[in-house]
Every structure is written in structure tokens, then in C-alpha cells.
């Protein structure tokens, strides 16, 4: 059954957080890719995460093979982190309209990086476009903030 994403988490997922995408190949070798934006669908059960074309060949191939992914959303300011697991539904090129979403994310993430000591000139150099848009249904959400409760499933 799909997990329901509450309001506060939707806000976190769509903010300037660090987005980490985990996939795996047919041999169960995992791959780590950085995402550059996310959108929570109105049904609060599906998300679309954006992966830069320049760095996501392996991730896209993995998703094509088995569809399993894990997406971590982590605030670099206080390490509040959640991990969403699910199965991919669709992979397509991100649209020009979605480019605005990615740009907003890039700016917001850049400000967070600046606060933690990464100069803006560095964060501006991150390659964020063009992107693949990966839509998936969330099946589980886990708390992953560092601490003794990391790994706890958030009930739907």
C-alpha cells in the first residue's frame, strides 16, 4: 500500500534539501546519485525527483532494469533526514516548465550550502540541467535523522 506523505514532509521534500537517490543494478550493486529537485504529487503518494542527465546514466539504467529506488531528503542545517522507498512508474525528460522548479531548488540549495560554508560560486557551478524526471510511488517512509531512532518507519 502506498505511503501517505504528510504536509510537513511534503514541504521538506520540495525545499532546498540535499536529495540523495539510491538505485541498484541486476547484480544488486547499489548506485548513489544526487537529485536536483522534487515535487510531491497532489495525491500525496507519488513524487517526481529530478536527476541531472550528466550524472545519472547508471541510475536510469538501474531503474529501467528493476524500478527500485530509495530517495533521501536531508536538511544540511540540522540533519533532519527522511528516506522514501518505492517503485518507479515513469522516466521521461524534464520539461521546460519543470526547469523552473529545478532552478528554484538550485538557488535554495545554494543558500543552504552557503550557510554551511560552501561559497555560492561553487554551488552555482553544479550541473542541474537538463534532467530526467523520475516519478515513483512511495511505499515506505523512514526516519533517518542521525540518532537511535534512525530507520524507524513513519506510519502512513
Amino acid at each position: 500500500m502506498a505511503a501517505l506523505i504528510p504536509d510537513d514532509l511534503a514541504e521538506l521534500f520540495e525545499g532546498g534539501v540535499s536529495i540523495l537517490v539510491g538505485t541498484r543494478d541486476a547484480g544488486l550493486v547499489a548506485e548513489a546519485t544526487r537529485g536536483v529537485g522534487a515535487v510531491v504529487h497532489p495525491d500525496r503518494r507519488r513524487l517526481t525527483v529530478f536527476l541531472p542527465v550528466s550524472v545519472s546514466d547508471r541510475a536510469i539504467a538501474n531503474l529501467g532494469d528493476n524500478g527500485s529506488l530509495a530517495v533521501g531528503f536531508s536538511s544540511m542545517l540540522d540533519h533532519r533526514t527522511l528516506q522514501v522507498k518505492g517503485k518507479v512508474e515513469a522516466i521521461r525528460d524534464a520539461t521546460e516548465a519543470e526547469r523552473e522548479i529545478v532552478s528554484r531548488y538550485h538557488a535554495a540549495f545554494g543558500e543552504v550550502l552557503f550557510i554551511v560554508g560552501i561559497p555560492r560560486v561553487i554551488s552555482r557551478a553544479l550541473n542541474v540541467w537538463p534532467c530526467h524526471a523520475v516519478t515513483f510511488e512511495a511505499t515506505d517512509i523512514f526516519l533517518q535523522t542521525p540518532g537511535p531512532n534512525a530507520g524507524e518507519r513513519i506510519s502512513a
Partner: protein, 446 residues
């Protein structure tokens, strides 16, 4: 970040907190909590990490294969000390600790091409070249020469922190000594901290400096801000999970409040801790391995110098006057200055002296100051000898290695910073004079 996969094909992705290079083909990851990553690699050992250069944010994809874990031994202890140092700052000592050092073989390393757009980016300082090493060796030589020319402890402390900036560019540094109980360290000299340097205290085992003192190890942290945020995240998690209100308080950084890089080394002579030297910077990853090696050389020289000068103090006891100098035949004339009276309070419970309601000094330096002030106001004495303090049982100086000279240095500096109306002026070896430029009101409290 680290990506793993379980036996059923479900991937997992999370942040890596610590990764250490062991050899060219081996790394160690810290395991603070038994989590999904650890569970996954125990059944499916290959993991993929992505790590970033802290200065350029260049990304590297490093594929690793789990080998084994270590829960004791040199590697475990070394990683554990770093985590303990950060944990104490967050009040998480004992809660946030290393469970195991997980060793992985490196399978492959590649730069993540396409992670950044090519273009004009600020240049990043490279590892020192041979030419730069010659320049840095000159800097080391400069520091070493300044230290060797110090004639007494006060000069040794002062010229060390000055020379560290002049010769090696360490803008913020401090030297700390253990107090008479051995449970706390106090800063005897500092550079780049203004008035807040001298007298700053750190508990043994607290933070980076306290951990270095307790473990007698070298510690270097490249991203202090990130480490503290991690520690605070755990603190918040623990509070939410347990509802505990009695967690230990967070300990502020003793030097720069926004330090990003810290490095501290123990000063050890004759297998005894004589102090700690600490440097820090607001820049991330400011200190490299070669800085550690250079500072280690300096630390050994400083430790030997402190030990030798302290032992020389002991040998010179016989040269000091055997009895205190007699008071004046009549009381000193009242000060003719129009400065307002300075109120000083001595709290017997913890030997604390406050000047104008502001903390000044405590413990042995506090007891020394109060003795001086009472002699001054009651009997008009302005001349004192080190020996009389050594012989006074009320001051509680240890019989061996009393470090009296260092305590007087601390007292002198604290007075300069916080209470300039009172000055201790050295007049000869083992002797000093008290100059006062305001009327004094003394009060003792329980």
C-alpha cells in the same frame, strides 16, 4: 553518501558521517548506530559512495566492499577519540559513540564527470610543492629558534603563539596547562582571541582539547561546523525519543565560536602531560597532515622547554630569599589618584576572586592574589618572593612541580586584561612588586 542494497533488491541511501583513508586501497567508515547500511553490507558487501572535496565540491564515486569491523585496537581508538571529542561538545558523551570501525576494500574510484559545469572557478590551494616545503621548513625553523631563545616560561608561551603566526600562519592558537587538580586545563597564552583567550578553561575529556589532554593523542577536525550539527541532530533525536531533560549541557568551543578547522596536540615530557597546544581556523579543511607533523615537532620542543624551565624553578628555590621581605616600617601612603575604589571579593568555597563583580581568577592563582592583596592592604607590603608562596601551606601548592611560575603568569595576564588597576611587576628572578592605581576594598564571602 552511501548506497547499499539488501538481499531482496531494495536499495538504501544515506549520508556518510565519517570516512577515513587507511591505505591506498582501504577505507574505514564509522558506525555509531547499527543501521540499515550495516545490515545491508553484512549480506551484500558492495556499496557505492559519493564523496565531495570540502573546498571545491568536486564529486568522486568510490565503490567499496565491506571487509570486517573493528571494535578495539588502534584504528577503533583513533576514530573513537574524534567522535568522543565532538560528542562532548553536544552533551552526548556516552550516547553518541563509536560502535565499530568498519573496514572496506576500495574497488574503484572515479571523478563524477558532469557533476559540475566547466568554467572559471576559484583556484584551490594545492598540496605544498617542493618549493613551498622549503618555505614551510623555514617557517618551522623560525618557530623553533624563537622558542629556544625564551628565557622564562612567560616568554616561552608568548613567543610560541607569536611565532606560530609569523612562521606558519596559524592566526589562532592557544597553549593550555593542566590546573593543580589535573581535571581542567586553562589557557596560559593565546593568539587571535583578544581578551577572551587567557584563562579560558576546558575540562579534561571535554571537546577536542579535553580529549587530546585525556588521551594524549593528536586530533584534527576539518569541518567542525558539520560535526557539531551532526552531534546536535543526535541530541535532538535523543531528546525527542526519550523525553530526557537531564542531558549534559552543550559545551561551547573554547576559542573561535565559528571555528571550522581545529587541531590540538598534547605537550608531553617525561611521559607526563604538561599541556596542550591548539590551533584553529574559520576556514574549512585549513589544516593538512603536514601541518600536524610540523606542529608535532614544535609541541615536542615546547614540552621539553616547559619541563626544563619548571625543573629549573625547583633548582632555583635555594637562591631565593629564605624569608619574606619585611613590610615597610610604616604603611604605604594612600594613593593620590582619583580613581574610584576597586571592590574585590574572594569566595572561599571555590577560591574565586571577582573584581568589580566580574570574574577574575580562581584556584591557586586566586589564592595567591588574595594573599597578596591582604598583605598589601593590611601591612602595606608591595614586594613579594616566589619562595614565600611555595612555603605557604594555605595556598595548596604541590610539593613537587608546583608550576608556580605558570600560575603567576596566568595571574599577571588576567590582571592585565580584566583588572589593570593591579599589576604584578617582576623585579628580579623569583621576586615581583605589586603596583596599584586605585583604592582597594576587599571582601571575603563563604
Amino acid at each position: 553518501m552511501i548506497a547499499t542494497c539488501d538481499a531482496d533488491g531494495v536499495p538504501n541511501i544515506t549520508y556518510l558521517s565519517q570516512i577515513f583513508l587507511l591505505e591506498d586501497d582501504r577505507v574505514a567508515l564509522s558506525c555509531q548506530f547499527f543501521n540499515k547500511t550495516k545490515k545491508n553490507v553484512l549480506v551484500n558487501p558492495v556499496a557505492t559512495t559519493q564523496i565531495y572535496d570540502p573546498l571545491t565540491f568536486d564529486a568522486y564515486r568510490v565503490v567499496i566492499k565491506y571487509s570486517h569491523e573493528e571494535r578495539e585496537g588502534k584504528l577503533f581508538e583513533g576514530m573513537s577519540r574524534r567522535i568522543d571529542a565532538i560528542a562532548t561538545h553536544s552533551g552526548m558523551a556516552g550516547v553518541f559513540r563509536l560502535l565499530s570501525a568498519d573496514v572496506y576494500d576500495v574497488v574503484s574510484v572515479e571523478n563524477v564527470a558532469g557533476f559540475k559545469r566547466p568554467g572559471d572557478l576559484p583556484s584551490v590551494p594545492q598540496q605544498p610543492s617542493a618549493v613551498q616545503y622549503r618555505s614551510e621548513m623555514s617557517g618551522l625553523q623560525h618557530v623553533s629558534q624563537r622558542i629556544s631563545r625564551a628565557r622564562d616560561l612567560e616568554e616561552l608561551y608568548a613567543c610560541t603563539v607569536e611565532a606560530l603566526e609569523e612562521g606558519l600562519g596559524f592566526e589562532n592558537s592557544m597553549i593550555l596547562l593542566p590546573d593543580e587538580t589535573g581535571s581542567r586545563l586553562y589557557a596560559i597564552a593565546g593568539r587571535g582571541y583578544g581578551e577572551s583567550g587567557v584563562g579560558a578553561e576546558v575540562g579534561l575529556g571535554e571537546g577536542l582539547i579535553g580529549t587530546v589532554a585525556r588521551e594524549r593523542c593528536i586530533l584534527r577536525v576539518a569541518g567542525v561546523g558539520a560535526e557539531l550539527r551532526y552531534g546536535r541532530a543526535i541530541r535532538t533525536s535523543v531528546q525527542r525519543a526519550t523525553g530526557l531533560r537531564g542531558l549534559r549541557p552543550e559545551i561551547p568551543l573554547p576559542g573561535l565560536v565559528d571555528a571550522q578547522s581545529q587541531m590540538a596536540l598534547p605537550l608531553v615530557a617525561n611521559d607526563r602531560l604538561v599541556g596542550v597546544i591548539a590551533v584553529e581556523s574559520k576556514k574549512t579543511a585549513a589544516f593538512q597532515e603536514w601541518h600536524e607533523a610540523f606542529l608535532d615537532i614544535i609541541a615536542n620542543q615546547i614540552a621539553s622547554a616547559i619541563e626544563n624551565m619548571t625543573l629549573r624553578e625547583k633548582d632555583e628555590k635555594d637562591e631565593e630569599p629564605a624569608v619574606p621581605l619585611p613590610p615597610r616600617s610604616e604603611p604605604a601612603p594612600p594613593s593620590k589618584c582619583e580613581a574610584p575604589a576597586l571592590k574585590l571579593r574572594f569566595f572561599k568555597s571555590d577560591d574565586c576572586v571577582f573584581a568589580a563583580d566580574e570574574y577574575l581568577v580562581r584556584n591557586v592563582p586566586g589564592r595567591i592574589l588574595w594573599k597578596i592583596l591582604r598583605e598589601l592592604t593590611a601591612r602595606g607590603r608591595t614586594e613579594f618572593t616566589n619562595r614565600e608562596f611555595r612555603l605557604d601551606p594555605a595556598l595548596g601548592l604541590p610539593a613537587i612541580r608546583d608550576n608556580l611560575e605558570s600560575r603567576l603568569v596566568l595571574l599577571r595576564k588576567r590582571l592585565e586584561q580584566k583588572c589593570p588597576q593591579i599589576a604584578l611587576v617582576p623585579t628580579a628572578r623569583g621576586r615581583f612588586r605589586v603596583d596599584v592605581t586605585a583604592p582597594l576594598e576587599l571582601e571575603e564571602s563563604a
